[in-house]
Symmetry: C2
Subunit: 124 residues, 2 copies
Amino acid sequence: MFTEKFYEVLKYEGVVSITSWGEDEPHVTNTWNSYLVITDDERILIPAAGLRSTENDVHINNRVKVTLGSREVLGFNGYQGTGFLVEGTARFINSGLEFKMMREKFPFANRVLEITVISAKQLL
Amino acid sequence: MFTEKFYEVLKYEGVVSITSWGEDEPHVTNTWNSYLVITDDERILIPAAGLRSTENDVHINNRVKVTLGSREVLGFNGYQGTGFLVEGTARFINSGLEFKMMREKFPFANRVLEITVISAKQLL
């Protein structure tokens, strides 16, 4: 699912956006490239302390859209910079081995946002 | 409207997210911190080449949510990194002095996304 280019982006720091939408208008929140942990089966794990609006939305509609990128990584046709739009389904977890692993890595996390990826599209 | 901190973020490169929503699910697209031009009266101008989904949404509902940040700028309580959520109303322009100015700066632009800011909230 994820290309080499995607993993290259994760080597650089940057702002990740997470958009969720329930019944109301969408909510957008952020995390950092360096906070994304990719599992062997290519789910995305993100440490959560706040993210309450995201969680409320996810209870109504579990689809999310995530964007990330880096100016340091070459995009299409030699363009200096690339970015990805990742679509997936989300859930919040607060127990289990993966939660424990994330908690050790990010002690501030009281939940983990797990995204099961539907598509990951390189935008430029 | 914009704080010194906001302008500080703009000095660093990073990924900006733009979320729009019409009748359908929201669309999320990206640009770079360095592409944002702030007018004297604190509207945001963004060069647009694509952004067709955003434009379609804006014709139905002109509200947008924009996020940006930088790990290089100190957030609240000495946290290394900060980010903003900007809410506003959007329109696309393709003529006039501001369009011309943007076109000189960003020759790839065939329209300009202009955002009139409602709120700009520092998130962390």
